[in-house]
């Protein structure tokens, strides 16, 4: 099976899975269809120790629906504070240092668009590793300054001495980004097959750090592709999230 055979959504599932590659016994909390598939793919392959919840209060063993534990919201909060979690959140806005907004657009005191609220983003980002998933990479999401800082970026984290702060990766429909630069400004880590570096730059509302050589995002192995298609997502929900 060749790289061309994997769809963009499948590339994204694998890129999300890679976010959890080096995690051991931590709770993987994916927000969104493709991150959820990624977390399950990671556990089935290279990160077998991950804990996954059913979205309610159960921890599920593998992907057969067998319950292996109980994790009501009160216990999730303790895992957050203990740092035993790696969440992949969405972002309505994200800036170059990884400050994220899911609360509202416009002036907070009377927003133009009320969104979710800060939810657990402040606590997540100051306590444990966080990654982001952006299904539509546009300058409206990747902005110079977010309207309400929910998840904190590297500049804010340094300012308050947040010793447990760590942003891993930002996976989008175009690319994978990270913060592995001297000042932790966002960097282009890889472009998905068929995407040019200039496409990503044009879709980003701030100047992105771009290395001299930008690799292409890894494509799924035949075994990984089979898991995605025949086991994790037989109904093709992954394609609809990018549609």
């Amino acid at each position: 099976m060749t790289a061309e055979q994997a769809t963009r959504a499948e590339i994204c599932v694998l890129a999300c899975a890679e976010a959890w590659r080096n995690d051991t016994k931590v709770l993987a909390s994916p927000m969104g269809v493709i991150p959820a598939l990624g977390a399950r793919l990671a556990r089935l392959t290279f990160a077998p120790d991950l804990l996954l919840s059913d979205g309610e209060a159960y921890l599920l063993a593998q992907d057969d629906g067998v319950v292996e534990g109980w994790l009501p919201f009160r216990s999730v909060f303790t895992m957050v504070a203990a740092g035993r979690r790696h969440v992949m959140m969405g972002a309505a806005q994200l800036d170059r240092y990884g400050n994220q907004n899911i609360s509202c657009i416009g002036d907070w005191s009377r927003p133009r668009a009320q969104l979710l609220g800060v939810r657990g983003a402040p606590g997540n980002t100051i306590n444990h590793p966080v990654s982001y998933w952006v299904p539509r990479h546009t300058p409206r999401v990747f902005v110079e300054a977010v309207d309400m800082v929910c998840g904190i970026g590297y500049d804010r984290a340094v300012a308050v001495g947040a010793r447990f702060h760590e942003l891993r990766v930002v996976v989008t429909n175009l690319a994978v980004l990270d913060f592995q630069t001297p000042d932790h400004a966002m960097r282009l880590r890889s472009v998905h097959p068929g995407v040019d570096v200039s496409d990503v730059a044009a879709a980003t509302g701030f100047r992105l750090a771009v290395p001299a050589e930008v690799p292409v995002t890894r494509t799924p192995t035949p075994a990984e592709l089979a898991l995605i298609r025949d086991r994790l997502d037989t109904g093709g929900r992954r394609e609809r999230e990018l549609a």
């Binding site: 957050v80 009377r110 800060v118 402040p122 980002t125 309400m148 929910c150």
Partner: protein, 291 residues
């Protein structure tokens, strides 16, 4: 069964006053004390501060103009991510907001339950939560680490409203679903707590339905019990029933225009609880009848 602390939903609304701070249990669109919320909608109560892991409880009270301030980390319908009436209220500048991280809200309730002025927490540091809550202060750890933390103030409640699966007339309450949410904590953070339940049972029957740890609240934490079958509708109340997604969509559509809200209110909210349940049944029948 002895009368114990049994009352009606209207009695509960009658115990509340304008301007009170009311904590509402459940989470998002899950096990919300909706019959008690509907009783508030039938009363003249107004100017409320609502503390909630917010769902349609917040949306309904905002839409009906009963809310001065919401204290929350989010307001959502879960399967419909954005609560439409909360959105409208915020975008119109009709409500004040104390926006907190979910964990900060938990900590504020815990501090109130423990009669502490505050509890230290990392969540919120570096974010814009302190910017939009200028009353928030930090504390320095008095130990050698010297870490600066947010001093989350106690969220003391005048009253708490929760809904559980079973209760006895004395106010011992039982949840049978997978998550207790923070219902016990809401009761303990409140001066007075009111519990509605799907079914009122004899005390001796409680342990027939679930293990001892399902007895989430005891009668010392509760000041009134209401039997309200379907009392969490249209939010979920597993295992008694799941979320009524079709009706939730009907509710969400009521935010489309002032006329839509007026129609929804007239159809479902202007009568009593029996009238509400009847109207919901008619909605369900109509949905099944149409192709």
């Amino acid at each position: 069964m002895s009368a114990g602390q049994v009352m009606t939903a209207a009695d509960v609304a009658g115990e509340l006053r304008d301007g009170m701070t009311i904590g509402i249990g459940g989470w998002g669109s899950r096990r919300k004390p909706m019959a008690l919320v509907r009783a508030i909608l039938r009363s003249a109560l107004t100017d409320l501060t609502v503390v909630s892991y917010g769902g349609p409880d917040v949306g309904l009270l905002v839409a009906a103009g009963r809310v001065r301030r919401v204290v929350c980390g989010f307001v959502t319908l879960d399967s419909i991510p954005l609560e439409p009436h909360f959105r409208l209220g915020r975008q119109a500048g009709a409500i004040e907001l104390t926006e907190l991280d979910e964990g900060m809200l938990h900590w504020g309730l815990l501090a109130a339950a423990h009669r502490l002025p505050f509890l230290p927490i990392r969540a919120g540091l570096g974010s814009d939560v302190p910017r939009v809550n200028p009353q928030l202060r930090t504390v320095l750890s008095p130990y050698e680490d010297g870490e600066e933390l947010i001093a989350m103030p106690a969220l003391r409640l005048d009253a708490a409203l929760i809904h559980l699966n079973r209760a006895d007339p004395a106010g011992n309450g039982q949840y049978l679903g997978p998550d207790p949410y923070f219902d016990d904590l809401f009761c303990q953070a409140a001066d007075r707590a009111f519990l509605s339940c799907e079914q009122l049972v004899d005390t001796a029957s409680l342990l027939a339905a679930g293990p001892p740890q399902s007895l989430l609240v005891n009668r010392a934490m509760v000041d009134g019990v209401v039997e309200a079958p379907g009392g969490a509708h249209f939010t979920s109340c597993v295992p008694d029933y799941g979320r009524d997604e079709a009706f939730q969509a009907e509710y969400a559509a009521s935010a489309a225009s002032p006329q839509a809200w007026k129609g929804f209110s007239a159809r479902y909210l202007d009568g009593d609880e029996t009238g509400y349940q009847d109207a919901v049944r008619r909605f369900r029948d109509a949905a099944t009848a149409s192709p």
